[in-house]
Amino acid sequence: MKQEKTTVVEHHNFQGDYRILRLAAPEVGPLVKPGQFLELLIPQLDDRILRRPFSIYKADAEGVSILYKPVGRGTQAMIPLNEGDPVDIIGSLGNGFPELGAGKIPVLVAGGYGNAALYLKAKELKTKGIAFFGGRTAQDILCVEEFKKLGWEVRPTTDDGSLGTKGLVTAAFDPWMQEQEAEKLELFVCGPNPMLKAMGDRAIEHGFTAWLSMDKNMACGVGACLTCVIKRKTEDGGWEWARCCKDGPIFESREILWEE
């Protein structure tokens, strides 16, 4: 974990509303493990004081890239960032994805910017498997070619049927799963909460492993403030708070006590 006061290397539209921000990060870049994130202090975010967490999409010895969608005050304030502008990051943060279990078939499941969190994992895994990407429209299905280039089979689903199977990611995943030996599957999931929950439920029902990247509002990003907690089951049948930023963001589906 390092704090790096650095600069923007590149910033451009990627697809639809999504944008890619590449930052020089000779300190942070080499530390990155797949599934980790960084905390960005957005310059000129007027009168807001908190950093924003972003999954690390790509990382190497010189820098890191994030893939984001402007949705609120912070992400919108990122749009004017130009090459050479100063930024401040803390990274890499969080536990990251574990190693694939021996003999397991890796399955990636993602929605929206979730693809960003999975890319490094897809690259790292020697065994290439299958990726289920869900989105509202074709515009929201990111990086398909990139994952294919890495050797993955990609099955997109869209709410409006504009790409791949029409429906939620489960519409493609469920029929496929029927034909598998469930306990051999190992899922790496990153996406909106309902998707995480849906995959978590299936993992428990069908007895496979599912690593879920949990998305919770954060303040410090390093485990100090206790903002980003979720309920994690304890051995005695109870639960304890676990910090998504430090103990996570990756949790195995069986660990999570879903709220509501």
Partner: protein, 304 residues
């Protein structure tokens, strides 16, 4: 000319006047990769109760214009858990550790101290009498002079280490509490906790925090904190640890001029963990440029 940055809070010596605000720096390890803990004047840890406590539901924080609300609700491992989980780590450093303590009842405060007092690594107690985010105790003790004094007296009876009541900001006359702290045997006071506050989501009509209300911290409260420190400094001769919105060295210097012997960096840690170093360096530069020989010389020099 070299400046003597060291100050004393009761018998506790700090190599410089800068600590961190409880709850914004975890228990020590969280920022240890980003901040050299040995540089700190003291480490103040997150509030510790007598037993393990779960705290509030989420959302626990919310960003506001210029600041943030929190209603963490004092989750934590409890006094024994703290000893087991964090004291071995903290004892590696050459920095005094201030343990922020809280309780639901008066007895709770006593219990925490009983459990912790034999631990050498614990240098002092900051008594949280002002947490806006727990139903029982907390703030209630901080806004009533009787129970305020009784908690301090009770803790005083259990330890020789410095005790530092943390005053509630939402009172009409903080001087009364500063004086009461002095009379009850406190060694110092700290000012201020986050200010009781609230935000409501206008789409859902629900409060933005699960606890409904929370505490406002960060730059918005600094001018309030400066006044409270100034008011308290007029009422007591106890050293004051000032905090509330310190982001720049200039902020810390302003607190010292107002009457704070030491200062704590809080919410700024979340924004920029290098703040602490910047503040320590900035105080030193200021003092030496202005020809002060020691940090203490600056304390309470406001011309007012």
């Amino acid at each position: 000319m070299s400046v003597d940055l060291s100050i004393k809070i009761g018998s506790m010596e700090m190599k410089n006047p800068v600590t961190v605000a409880s709850g914004t720096f975890g228990y020590g390890p969280e920022y240890a990769e980003l901040v050299d803990l040995n540089r700190l004047g003291a480490i103040t840890v997150k509030g510790i109760g007598p037993e393990e406590h779960v705290g509030n539901s989420t959302p626990r924080t919310f960003e506001t214009r210029g600041g943030m609300l929190n209603a963490i609700g004092l989750p934590g491992p409890g006094a024994q858990g703290f000893i087991d989980k964090y004291v071995p780590f903290l004892s590696q450093y050459n920095v005094p550790v201030i343990v922020n303590i809280w309780g639901k009842s008066m007895e709770d405060y006593g219990k925490v101290v009983e459990i912790l007092d034999a631990v050498d690594t614990v240098s002092a107690y900051e008594i949280n009498l002002s947490c806006p985010n727990v139903k029982e105790g907390g703030s209630a003790f901080g806004t009533d002079t009787d129970s305020f004094s009784r908690v301090i007296e009770l803790v005083r009876g259990k330890t020789q280490k410095p005790i530092i009541p943390k005053l509630a900001p939402n009172v009409s006359d903080i001087g009364v509490f500063a004086k009461a702290a002095e009379n009850s045997g406190a060694d110092a006071i700290s000012i201020m906790n986050s200010y009781p506050a609230m935000a409501i989501n206008i789409e859902t009509l629900e409060p933005e925090l699960a606890n409904r209300t929370g505490g406002l911290s960060g730059p918005p409260i600094k001018p309030i904190a400066i006044k409270l420190v100034w008011d308290a400094a007029k009422a007591t001769t106890l050293p004051i640890i000032g905090m509330g919105g310190i982001y720049e060295p200039e902020d810390a210097i302003e607190f010292m001029i107002a009457g704070a012997t030491a200062v704590a960096v809080g919410t700024a840690n979340f924004t920029d963990p290098s703040t602490i170093n910047r503040v320590i360096d900035g105080i030193e530069t200021y003092l030496s440029q202005k020809g002060y020989r020691s940090a203490s010389e600056l304390v309470g020099t406001v011309k007012a």
